[in-house]
């Protein structure tokens, strides 16, 4: 059985955005959620997916490397056998291998995990239209009003497992934990207490007594607050519940009040239906795997040009961008950037992406690069204070045009040609790897689709 201490922290998405698995996923504003929640949780989701892909590793010591480790590779997730040998998440690979020489190290494949998470979401949507992801391998399902469709709530955990069995391999589903209670916090704590294949349902009257024995570390609050509580000897939710609210508020602010509400079961966070704006994707296939940073930066620029010029993007600023790569040899790499404010300026999006790429570059040569804009906001009409128009702008019909802008007449012409031929017959020459010693790798034609 998984102890609550082993479980990753849960953030309920109140207040500011935080790192880690969070419930702060975009949900439809103003839509009432479901009070009754089912938490479906598959611990060490990523490692289990790898083991499902390579079952021969199941009985061996396996460790999954942390994504984006740069030059210092650390262990992210460890199989039971590896843990028995003393390998722990967060350890340096050198330490882990010295503890367990037979350890098999696996590189992370984030695209595979994201695809599995999407599949899990889609599968659970068969049970209820109200599903809300809370990090990979953890999904809340709203179960209000499902009685006429699926019968009494006691059946829902079984139905969820049954639905998952239709999509995922049996060992993966067998390791899934399910908790059911009112509100996401109660459901999550119940899931963390549940064993594989033994769902835990907490009826409303029992929630306070169920929560009382839980450690304060289950609270979705800042780790610093948990540390302070533990130092003060307040180790369980029962002890926390006995404290007066004004004292907690004076010590921890509004976070203290929320902690008390969760600890006593007074606060019920409904499951809100996930609002997923259709992402804008642009991809580029390299003729031969690209490993140079300059090549990847050039490709990123072109992907941004294409994605930003899509009609679906116009009128909206971009807030969240994901860059994904299919690597040579079959693995994948991805990174995500959430911008401080929505923007439609290419450089404002490219800069943080390049900076992140420099910190954790793709570990192998890239065969395909995919840019995905997945979060949007109102377009900022005000240019940056420090944004100065560069010289060399062009003019179209007497109107000065920005660098890279396409005259409307050309845009129309391409549209007509596409209608007629089914594809754009126009291309532009782009630099791929201008310093390559192999001449055919220096420049290429890219379909011109303004």
């Amino acid at each position: 059985m998984a102890s609550l201490q082993q479980a990753p922290p849960l953030l309920l998405g109140v207040g500011e955005e935080k790192e880690g698995p969070s419930l702060a996923s975009p949900s439809l504003p103003g839509v009432p959620g479901s009070r009754r929640a089912l938490c479906v949780w598959l611990p060490t989701f990523e490692l289990r997916l790898e083991l499902a892909r390579s079952p021969e590793l199941d009985a061996t010591s396996v460790a999954l490397l942390a994504p984006g480790g740069g030059s210092r590779h650390t262990v992210w997730q460890v199989s039971e056998r590896g843990a028995e040998a003393g390998v722990l998440p967060g350890q340096l690979v050198s330490q882990a291998v010295s503890l367990c020489p037979a350890l098999t190290l696996l590189e992370p494949d984030p695209a595979h995990y994201d695809a599995a998470q999407e599949e899990m979401l889609e599968t659970l949507m068969e049970l209820s239209p109200v599903v809300e992801p809370a990090g990979r391998g953890r999904i809340f399902v709203g179960t209000d009003g499902l009685e006429r469709l699926h019968g009494p709530p006691s059946r829902y955990p079984g139905l969820a497992l049954q639905a998952l069995l239709g999509t995922f391999p049996r060992p993966l589903v067998a390791a899934t934990r399910i908790g059911q209670a009112s509100g996401k916090f109660g459901a999550w704590v119940a899931a963390a207490r549940a064993g594989p294949g033994s769902p835990v349902t907490i009826p409303d009257p029992e929630i306070p007594s169920f929560l009382a024995s839980c450690p304060v570390s289950v609270l979705p609050v800042e780790p610093l607050m948990v540390q302070r509580l533990e130092r003060l000897g307040i180790t369980t939710l029962e002890k926390l519940s006995s404290l007066p609210e004004p004292a907690l508020v004076s010590q921890f602010g509004s976070q203290g009040r929320r902690a008390l509400e969760w600890a006593t079961g007074r606060r019920v966070d409904p499951v809100r239906p996930l609002h997923r704006p259709r992402p804008i994707r642009a991809s580029l296939d390299f003729p031969s795997p690209a490993g140079r940073t300059e090549t990847l930066h050039g490709a990123l620029d072109r992907l941004l040009d294409r994605a930003l010029s899509r009609p679906a993007r116009r009128g909206r600023g971009v807030r969240g961008v994901r860059l994904r790569a299919d690597l040579e040899g079959g693995k994948s790499w991805s990174m995500e950037v959430v911008l401080r404010e929505p923007t439609a300026q290419k450089e404002s999006i490219a800069f943080p992406l390049r900076a992140r790429m420099a910190l954790s570059p793709p570990p192998r040569a890239v065969e395909r690069l995919v840019l995905e804009m997945f979060r949007f906001g109102p377009a900022t009409s005000q240019p940056g204070f420090f944004h100065r128009k560069e010289g060399g702008g062009r003019e179209a019909g007497g109107v000065e045009m920005a660098e890279g802008a396409v005259p409307p007449s050309l845009r129309e012409a391409v549209k007509e040609l596409k209608l007629k031929l089914g594809h754009s017959p126009l291309y532009r020459v782009v630099e791929v790897d201008p310093w390559s010693r192999i001449p055919e790798r220096r420049h290429a034609l890219l379909s011109f689709e303004p």
């Binding site: 991809s283 040579e328 031929l421 791929v432 220096r442 420049h443 034609l445 379909s447 689709e449």
Partner: protein, 89 residues
């Protein structure tokens, strides 16, 4: 004709197979070009490219040649496949 994949980059300056008559030491003497056979007047430059031994090795010996009609062309001998190609260097 099927539409090309709009997401794929189409490399430019791809090498084209070429028939070459060689002399002693593998020196190119005559090139079979589209407009007939041309004699090599001078070898202006020779260089070798060895790349990607870890993936699919590439080993080419390039030569910039002056032809009898005044044209300058770049050719290479694929040292692995032992075949000649015409390509702008």
């Amino acid at each position: 004709m099927s539409a090309p994949n709009p997401h794929a980059l189409r490399p430019l300056n791809m090498p084209r197979p070429l028939r070459v008559r060689t002399g002693s030491g593998g020196r190119p003497l005559f090139l079979h070009l589209d407009r007939g056979v041309r004699r090599v007047q001078h070898i202006l430059e020779i260089w070798q490219v060895d790349e990607e031994w870890w993936r699919e090795p590439i080993s080419r010996r390039y030569a910039r040649l002056a032809l009898d009609d005044g044209r300058i062309v770049t050719v290479y001998l694929d040292l692995l496949g032992r075949e000649w190609y015409l390509q702008e260097g």
